[in-house]
Symmetry: C2
Subunit: 412 residues, 2 copies
Amino acid sequence: MKFGGTSVADLEKIRNVAAHVRREVEAGHQVSVVVSAMAGKTNELVGWCEEACEDYDAAEYDAVVASGELVTAGLLAMTLQGMGIKARSWAGWQAPVKTDGAHGRARIMDIPPENLAAFLDDGGVNVIAGFQGIGPDGRVTTLGRGGSDTSAVAVAAALGARCDIYTDVDGVYTTDPRIDSRARRLEKITYEEMLELASLGAKVLQTRSVELAMTWKVPLRVRSSFDAPDAPSQVTEDGKGPGTLVCEEDEIVEQQVVSGIAYSRDEAQVAIRKVKDKPGVSASIFGPLAGAGISVDMIVQNVSADGEFANLTFTVPRGDLKKALKALEAEKDNIGFEEIASSSSVAKVSVVGIGMRSHAGVAAKMFQVLSEKGINIEAITTSEIKVSVLIDEAYTELAIRALHSAYGLDAE
Amino acid sequence: MKFGGTSVADLEKIRNVAAHVRREVEAGHQVSVVVSAMAGKTNELVGWCEEACEDYDAAEYDAVVASGELVTAGLLAMTLQGMGIKARSWAGWQAPVKTDGAHGRARIMDIPPENLAAFLDDGGVNVIAGFQGIGPDGRVTTLGRGGSDTSAVAVAAALGARCDIYTDVDGVYTTDPRIDSRARRLEKITYEEMLELASLGAKVLQTRSVELAMTWKVPLRVRSSFDAPDAPSQVTEDGKGPGTLVCEEDEIVEQQVVSGIAYSRDEAQVAIRKVKDKPGVSASIFGPLAGAGISVDMIVQNVSADGEFANLTFTVPRGDLKKALKALEAEKDNIGFEEIASSSSVAKVSVVGIGMRSHAGVAAKMFQVLSEKGINIEAITTSEIKVSVLIDEAYTELAIRALHSAYGLDAE
């Protein structure tokens, strides 16, 4: 069971978490819990680090920032004890969660399960500080933002357990319910689809934790920590239950062709006009951008009729637009273009579904639907299980609602 | 160098601490620093523990409460790095500060110096989280309130170093300057005197840290963290310097007979009237008090002329008075007394000086001075190096000022 920062934000919320844990214990389960720091605490600690030193040492940053989870782990263990449940807290270094030495963004290498398993077999509940581990040199490491999800999946893998992620939404939806009120909660979704949704801006789960769950085949359930905690254990025998189960494809009997519609407004489009179309020109453009740490997406290249010039458009994260333009202007002579234009009023809308692999026509339908609504498509990218289009940001909601209906996702 | 909670209360104060450290580094010293949590943080964490569980597990309490020092240790290390000084933080378990397993009030057993010494020899500054260690079972322990002083003395002993305690006062005074403006800062004071002063209510140093310094012969300097930090290293070659040096008797050339006047208002007097004077009656009175965890001081027994009854008075900490009276009333039949009276309007005033060992007449002079001022003495206790009297609380300031003058302690 993993609980995020909003679920452990104060003592009352921690008591609510403890009641969720008690329900699972009383249902006869062995339980290990992974907790984040209280909401806001990590930001406070990060702020202090930035104030202490502009170019701070990531090892010291980790030492400071990892303290937040120690507090909530200890408080939850105490609260459980107060309910008569045997429990103890584990810092990352105690469990131990062994990581590499990449401070601030460490990767979990191994969680030897002996300590945690022994306490479970002794009838206890493990409460593990998320987001942290211990590096090869015995120093504290952190896993990067959202790392508590990753901790939870790794602990579940080490113990051969399932992993229930408790969060502030009650599952994964066919699209953002704030945009389309007919959005439905998905009973199940594949790891692959969840990965696409996570990378497309759905904030329910960290990409890395889903990758890990997929690799180690850990069944992942996303559910709400605001469910009534003292109801009976809510996952029924046929595997149906609250939230959304992220699992392998063959566990999903009635697979939809399209599972969800995602969108991202974190996009900006750059158009480079009249580039000399010669070998190496792409490298001269994308090399400097990569060098500046900017990831580029949705590249479209049009060559002029005489084949001499090309127009090139692509997208970058909206926050990186200025940096991208600066990097390109600096290379203007080298690249040899006439002008650069850019726009931040674009959005990416995607349809995701593992069923696309075996069903043709998903993309064609998407273009048809958008065309009927008079929405112009500025760029397209596809993967095996998704189609993304770049459109004018003003049409985002219209596009999502039209596609949600067209693929039969609307709630009845 | 040890810095308490008020000295590291925010980033600006931490930068001030770093400037003190830089001064010592630039003077060519190898430096290890022990820090407390930011002022108020430990109380916040303790409050959460109390809210989480009434009868909390001391091991979890330690896991939670020890997190505060991790934050300041990391932030100070970063700040030093930002000044170009090589530094790293150490949690108690990393140093390691090995303690017994008495959670919440652990005792330091050993600090193997290899890790800390290696980093010093490498040109680095150690920044050690105070107040904490690691128990025999690998769990985090804390040393109890004021434990950072103890951590600092223990680290100094392990490294064969002196120990400078930076605090919010600029040294040890002949008496409380708020009561007598003629109070002088002492250049030096012996461990024994400092122990008496600490146990008599002077809040400058924790008793245990002084005991430890005495046992391990660690020279201890108490000085202010609000001194200008970037002045040249302020301890001169003849050992004179800012603050007060706590040291062995033979290091003090011109020893005063009396070094200071201490006082405590944390006193209450209990009088038990007409106790049957028979064998075992003292045990019947003080046994129940000891059982209730109440420490008793300043016992006076008067036997009536016929030898049949005794009147017995003694003092207890003011906060324990109600509990003491309750414990005695419960044993009334067993003890066999006529009545109990009590008073909270008493104060203890003490003269302390290691010179008393070889100079007679210190106590006589004290009684003489108080008598001249019309101050009645209700009880007396003495040790080899102190005389304490219990008086009406209203006369506290008068008594202190009179004694301060009489023993030649007034500043010129």
